[in-house]
């Protein structure tokens, strides 16, 4: 008994010593472990699992999990709604990002320099970035929809005759409504990044141009644009990769309708999986979508962040 009581603390101490030595040696791996384990468990494992699901029957309307080969992929590729949703995604993404880029650049140019009230305007301009996209969709639904929203009334005042646009259900106005909501929310994203780029251009270059009598238009094209190009590429790439997931505003504003005309890829896959319960088909579709995005991620993002030198 006495011996044991004396030996125990030493034993514990050696164990603690060993542990601390071991943990000190493997410190860098211990630090990354929790994050890596979490990502492996909640992202990589589900992805691998879904690769299996994509090739079997996993459908709440059909019992059993039989191996079906490429059937799920074929069904998605053959579905005209899938193709439609792909085109809608491409059109909306390009329109959103283009408008946001031009508007964001104009705002950034307008905000360069130091003037009274700049700090306040800055704080106000970034507000949309902190609002949930569902809420933004709700905003625009409330502002545009008949009979509640004031938009048609105001347009009527300006144009001098009654306006009866069905903003959320009538093409092409429903597309314009969706673009408005996206532009409202994400123009500040472009603006903030482009402004950071503009402020980083060395001022002496502009001074030299001014001394040489170069006009403002030429200064913009031959100095601002080339200097800003890496930032422009970064802003557009980041925005593109987020814009192609468009889901929230569709969900709130049009519900994909009328019919399936405003289905985006994310919305289409969601309805296939959760409204029609063809889960394995939705997963096959999301793999096709994933592969397309992965190519963009790999080629563009990796290179971008290296150019920036972080």
């Amino acid at each position: 008994m006495v011996e044991g009581a004396a030996a125990a603390p030493t034993l514990i101490r050696t164990a603690v010593d060993r542990w601390s030595q071991w943990s000190d040696r493997n410190f860098k791996w211990l630090l990354v472990a929790p994050a890596v384990v979490l990502i492996l468990a909640l992202s990589i494992y589900p992805l691998l699992f879904s690769l299996w699901v994509a090739f079997i029957n996993y459908d709440f309307t059909v019992p059993g999990h039989a191996f079906v080969g490429l059937k799920n992929f074929q069904e998605v590729l053959a579905d005209p709604v899938a193709r439609g949703s792909f085109y809608v995604t491409v059109i909306l993404t390009i329109s959103d990002v283009a408008v946001e880029f031009v508007l964001g650049l104009a705002l950034a140019l307008a905000m360069v320099g130091n003037f009274r009230g700049r700090g306040l305007i800055m704080s106000v301009l970034i507000i949309p970035l902190f609002i949930s996209p569902v809420v933004v969709g709700q905003f625009w639904a409330l502002l545009l929809q008949r009979p509640f929203g004031p938009t048609n009334y105001l347009l009527g005042l300006i144009l001098g005759h009654d306006v009866g646009i069905e903003w959320l259900t009538q093409a092409p106005w429903n597309f314009i409504a969706l673009i408005l909501a996206d532009v409202w929310q994400w123009t500040p994203f472009m603006f903030v990044i482009l402004l950071a780029g503009l402020t980083a251009i060395p001022p002496h270059i502009y001074e030299a141009a001014e001394l040489d009598g170069v006009g403002p238009w030429r200064t913009f094209w031959f100095i601002t644009v080339p200097y800003l190009a890496p930032m422009m590429l970064l802003a557009v790439t980041f925005r593109l990769l987020d814009a192609i997931r468009l889901f929230d505003t569709i969900f709130v504003m049009t519900g994909g309708g009328p019919g399936t005309s405003t289905y985006t890829v994310s919305y289409y896959l969601y309805t296939i999986g959760f409204a029609q319960f063809h889960l394995s088909q939705a997963i096959a579709g999301s793999w096709i979508f994933l592969v397309i995005t992965a190519v963009v991620i790999f080629l563009l993002v990796r290179r971008l962040l290296r150019v920036e030198g972080v």
């Binding site: 630090l31 994050a35 909640l42 625009w140 001022p203 980041f238």
Partner: protein, 277 residues
């Protein structure tokens, strides 16, 4: 320097652009704020009621109680705060390891980064199946884990950039003085990086607070978050414009205040630390 630093009057074109943009920016905010206190009788008046004569708070009560906004609010607070804490903790640890020991080389850091750009639909469908199997579907625990994973890439990369800018001499001095590596991290590096950690945590919180897609698939009747409550207003059968607006106000106020608080870190947050603001 003089060109940008001088305080000068703005050219007309700039004033026009900024004014028009402000109108565009405030139009929906104003309309929603007004609708949230507008009595239902005024909804369809023509011309529209721009400011209600008898404002009411009834829509807030209805949105929070009748439409379970309060439950969503409580769930959102608990889930967002817990996920933010975990994300800040794990993210800071990983970023420190990447920045100081180049752990796993570029592969590990870019692997984490790539998670940020994966389409959520590809992850969330299989995650839904697994959550049902492990009984994590529609639980706060499940949502906290999912949101921690979902915010980690940004936290890691923001802190990665932060630690790389921080001189390592103090940590080295601590090691020479006999600190273990953990102590050098915990007692020297973390306090020095505190402003960066706070900023990263606020961004993580805002991402969780505003997230919709994971929430709508991984929750239903118990762990649903505030943004998912908007589902109740979609049909607009009874024209719940006021309730929807009230809930929008409840949702946007906290995240806007927090966002403005960390605005000087915004560029780093949006570009995952790639661009210094």
């Amino acid at each position: 320097m003089a060109r940008w630093k001088k305080r000068r009057r703005l050219p007309i074109a700039r004033i026009v652009l900024l004014t028009l943009y402000m109108i565009f920016l405030f139009a929906p905010l104003y309309w929603v704020a007004i609708t949230s206190i507008k009595p239902s009788e005024d909804y369809l008046a023509i011309p529209p009621v721009w400011f209600p004569k008898e404002p009411t708070l009834g829509h807030f009560t209805a949105a929070l109680i009748t439409y379970h906004g309060l439950t969503g609010l409580i769930n959102s607070v608990i889930i967002s705060l817990s996920a933010t804490a975990l994300s800040a903790l794990f993210g800071t640890m990983m970023a420190y390891s990447l920045a100081r020991f180049n752990t796993g080389g570029q592969h590990l850091s870019f692997w984490v980064l790539s998670q940020r750009f994966l389409p959520p639909i590809a992850i969330v469908l299989p995650l839904f199946l697994n959550y049902r199997y492990f009984h994590l579907h529609d639980t706060r625990t499940g949502m906290i884990l999912a949101y921690t994973m979902f915010t980690l890439p940004v936290t890691v990369w923001m802190m990665f950039a932060y630690f790389r800018q921080m001189p390592r001499s103090l940590e080295e001095a601590a090691l020479v003085d006999g600190c273990t590596r953990w102590q050098a991290f915990r007692q020297v590096a973390v306090p020095l990086a505190a402003p960066g950690i706070v900023a990263a945590a606020v961004f993580a919180f805002i991402s969780c607070w505003t997230e919709f897609f994971f929430a709508i698939i991984l929750t239903s009747r118990h762990a649903f978050t505030l943004p998912t409550v908007f589902r109740s207003f979609l049909s607009f059968q009874g024209a719940q414009y006021g309730e929807a607006s009230a809930l929008a106000v409840v949702s946007l106020v906290p995240s806007i205040l927090l966002g403005i608080l960390v605005q000087q870190h915004l560029v780093r947050g949006l570009t995952l630390g790639a661009v210094r603001g």
